[in-house]
Amino acid sequence: MAWDKETELRLRQVIKDSGVALLAENLVQGTWGNTAARLDEDHMLVTPTGLDYIALTPEDMPVVQISDPSVWNDGKKPTSERKIHAAIMQARPEINATIHSHPIFCSILASARIELPVMNDEMQRLVGGACRVGAYGLPGTKKLKKGTVEAMQGRNACFMANHGVFCAGKDMDEAFEIIRIMEKSSYQYIQECTLKATGSQTYSDELLFDYFVADKTAKKKKA
């Protein structure tokens, strides 16, 4: 172990707080996301698999080996997504904190497999350019891990096709800034695309509803 106890205790609290913040900021929807914080070059703390973030304690967070994520100790059973967190930490020494989650607007673009262009200065600064979509792979597979690592090259975020978003920062605060700007920029882009598709001037959810229903009904009649 190349870290001191004080650092570990601090990062355990960081992971605990990150889960609570994902919930509080509505950045987790449907199913749980997961986060990781680097302890040293070969170890990271991650969230346990599928447990309630509110009920989790800092001591519940397991320590996972980055070079071989099947090895872990302390805490509870780690998230099944730990291989992706480990792969990013291994490929990117400057990254110390990662977040994988399924916020709604990122999930929409992930399901559409659309690259998100740079929408604002903040996105350029934090993400480092347009946000790519990693190749689709079943959860837990090498294909998904490889696709995510490739899509993250030179970027601090990517979409995981039909799944969610992955964000990486120099610390957890920055990783949160990234997921926030990703969700905000995704929403902005969806609004722009909707206005373009519908020819309307003002966005509303009802605009999406009406266009969707009219389009599907017309297609059914045609068929």
Binding site: G50, L51, D52, S80, R113, L138, P139, A197
Partner: protein, 222 residues
């Protein structure tokens, strides 16, 4: 208060907090093989109290409770039903189309697709064959499960999948998961869940305290 009544109240509150209810939502749970507890028709889940939940046989019920009773009669594997009107499910139900596998968690928790049924009991039963969830034309959705937590999670995932389907369709880029991979994910999820459920049943027999919600969430993580 009966444990089932408390569970229904708890999950009604969760659905309200998640904002996935409409005006006419109803929840029910099987109590014994031929009985169910169900929320009174016309009572908003946000206003639900224990006095709005009653126990009834599944063999003789008023028309508004019939779909729940018939599902319990036909499907011994189902112990809980959510009949809800989530915001994003509504336009898909109105269009009367099938939601394809737009997200991994949908393929796993809801199924590779979610069809829209005509709004009559026979059609709903038919559409639910081999499935746990369906949309109801011009209405909302019906989700079910072995536990209320399973049915509840289905509502959340279905609403998110519907939102993705509607928005990605409008922006013209709906890319769905390959059917084989979607079915494989569903199979693995169900197998893992059944195993976990079996473990829970064994543990219960030994008198241990089991929190079924925790086990469902663990399998629900994707």
């Amino acid at each position: 208060m009966d444990k089932i009544v408390q569970t229904i109240l708890d999950y009604a509150a969760k659905l309200v907090a998640e904002g996935v209810v409409g005006e006419s939502d109803m929840l029910s749970m099987r109590s014994e093989i031929n009985f169910m507890y169900i929320t009174k028709a016309g009572v908003k889940l946000a206003d639900l109290t224990e006095n709005d939940i009653f126990k009834t046989t599944i063999f003789k019920v008023d028309e508004e409770y019939k779909v729940h009773a018939e599902i319990y009669k036909e499907r011994e594997d189902i112990n809980a039903i959510c009949q809800c009107y989530p915001k994003w499910v509504t336009p898909v139900a109105k269009a009367g189309v099938t939601i394809p596998a737009v997200l991994d968690d949908m393929a796993q928790i809801v199924g590779p697709t979610c069809k829209t049924s005509a709004d009559d009991v026979a059609s709903i039963i038919k559409t639910l064959k081999g499935r746990n969830s369906c949309l109801v034309k011009d209405k909302g959705c019906i989700t079910s499960g072995r536990t209320m937590d399973e049915a509840y999670t289905c509502v959340l995932v279905l609403d998110k999948a519907s939102h993705c389907f509607v928005a990605s369709s409008v922006i013209g880029a709906n890319k769905v998961i390959n059917g084989l991979e979607a079915r494989l994910m569903r199979f693995i999820y169900k197998t893992k869940y059944s195993k976990k459920n079996q473990e829970n049943l064994s543990a219960k027999e030994e008198g241990e305290q089991i929190k079924e919600e925790t086990s469902v969430k663990e399998e629900g993580e994707v």
